[in-house]
Symmetry: C2
Amino acid sequence: MMFEVKTVKETFGIIEDNFSDYDLDGEWVGIHEALDRVVCKDIIANEDMPPFNRSSVDGYCVVAADTFGVSEAMPAQLKLVGEVGMGEKPGFAIKRGESAYVPTGGQLPSGADAMVMMEYSEDFKDGDIFLNKPAAPGNHIVYKGDDVKEGTLVIKKGRRLRAQDIAILAGLGYEKVKVYKKLKIGIISTGDEVIGIGDKPEGAQIRDINTYSIDSLSKKMGMEPVRFGIVKDVYDDIEKVVNESLESCDITVVSGGSSVGTKDVTVKVIESLGKPGVLLHGIAVKPGKPTILGKAKGKAVIGLPGHPASAFMIFQVFVSRLAKTMEKSGDGLHPFVEATVDINYPSNNGREEYLAVSLREGKDRCIASPVFGKSGMISLMTQADGFVHISRGSEGLNKGQKVKVNLF
Amino acid sequence: MMFEVKTVKETFGIIEDNFSDYDLDGEWVGIHEALDRVVCKDIIANEDMPPFNRSSVDGYCVVAADTFGVSEAMPAQLKLVGEVGMGEKPGFAIKRGESAYVPTGGQLPSGADAMVMMEYSEDFKDGDIFLNKPAAPGNHIVYKGDDVKEGTLVIKKGRRLRAQDIAILAGLGYEKVKVYKKLKIGIISTGDEVIGIGDKPEGAQIRDINTYSIDSLSKKMGMEPVRFGIVKDVYDDIEKVVNESLESCDITVVSGGSSVGTKDVTVKVIESLGKPGVLLHGIAVKPGKPTILGKAKGKAVIGLPGHPASAFMIFQVFVSRLAKTMEKSGDGLHPFVEATVDINYPSNNGREEYLAVSLREGKDRCIASPVFGKSGMISLMTQADGFVHISRGSEGLNKGQKVKVNLF
């Protein structure tokens, strides 16, 4: 079966069409364990926040009308009828001509409709308080429900929870939150030349870098990696491990050896697993053209290039897209840095390119340098801080041009 | 004892002076557990990478001189003396007039000094190979040690490990890496009005938001939080829990109730713990002026404002700085977004300000909107995506101005 190479846009479309309705279970977790988890249903406020009218300053509550027109020369003289303690429900109300002390965060007694800050008061300890600044109704008060009204949407389904989201959940009294289970991703390395990282290479063997870079990237993206280790370039062996991974994992990633033979075996295995099988074979992108995406038993199977730097970039761009689609977490911000390119970089016409760059702080800007070296160098990955997307048909980058650097 | 309010710069200086020599133990962890951990000693390559001369293409190895001047019209005719398998050590050498097939990643036979790509060859299966493109010595070869030379610095002490760093460790055969133990941070909430998040507020009680936002932020920053819960505004109670936290934690954070009394108690407790005690009380910054930093038993104790949004911002700016200083992880990139402000925002002269903003994608730029609302609103935190630093003496922000937004 022959496959046409797909553009990046077509690839994203194939991911959307095939995996946006992926059925991922939810689970309840304590909010102290919910950081970076994806909420699987809208969270609605079940009460008002604050649940009472609250002062936002230390000072005196008043009926605002009592302070209209007052000044330092002519302060309002009000009867002090009480003091509100932190966390206490005031045991009294105030009316015209009266006032009471309320601390920041304290509850306003009924009858009061404004606060006058401490620094505009004088207390001669004779039972009265003198206030020398006028207040409009509502001054320095957060009314019940001002912050969050009962029934409003607080956190939308698909949000990856940040510390500030967990704060509002705590404030509203949620001890637990329902989130999607972490996507499980099975990682398989293939190649007759690939050996374990603890082994000493003999001849031209190379250590299994991909298992570890993909393991780390998966965690960074909020997935739960399962490492299946190294498999020889043998159809039956690869098929067996891919099936094992499909049993328990939502995504299976096979990073091929760099030999032509290995790639064929991965395609054949994906084809053998049932419909629809291989969805695409080859993306018009540099690096990483020989990427494979398949679907079997409703789950995703990916063939990545064997070369570590290519596998890394393809994972960043396409597997992260796939994961976000499967867990419906579309609305996050993707951190990037705007930087100035320090050299001319001609592009490959006709296919998009993801160019690794290193970043440094310039005098008044951030500077991006494309990371160069001989093809196949691993150390280039470590020098890179992020990547620049160069679109098809672009002439490349010009020295001094501003670019958006997506951070690794 | 009276304290002068410090500027942000002075505060960073105090942190540097007091905690840059903090003694944090190291531990060995498997590289699959090392993501986001801070390396505590320089990592030097203990071997060459690659450990052999490697082809970066599928093709034929040659003595380059045999191809000088060849063309499609006049190809070089070389004797095929063998084929190198993936991962294998070639069992033969080549000399002038000879060639052999080598796959991408395969080892070059001795004698060969260049590769000619497959597509420039013709094989009539008669024992000879015809090559129609000249190659210069070194073409398509990654020499032994080209990627990383034995003895070179691969990862510097203080680096927070990223996936691409773990990749190179795998490639060099490191199964484990020595990293600093995670900083342990004790979290204490104080305030008579503060109740647990599972409790229903009575009167004007408020739920303990700070424990959960600080817990999540600490994890995000790579620390290991220990939650000590809520303590009443009583000297003995706070002293007891702070001492308990000091026993096991590197940093202790006390977020005060918003009452004036609470703040005094935290200062007194820090003073009581021994020298040097309180290092600063008050930073000229908005929000969060009433921040306290102390040192006792060699460890850091911090008093944060009780208001969740203020505590959150102070933690982002100052506690993260403290943590980086204590674990010597200075060299990381801090993700930010360059955005255009959509309104005029006048600043407070004389103190620096950290202004929370929300971000949205505009037509051809990213737009930052200051997050406004009544003082004390929690929902503002959730709307915010990051913050803008407004320096002292600045007039504030002008509509259309470009700003650097540090992401939460």
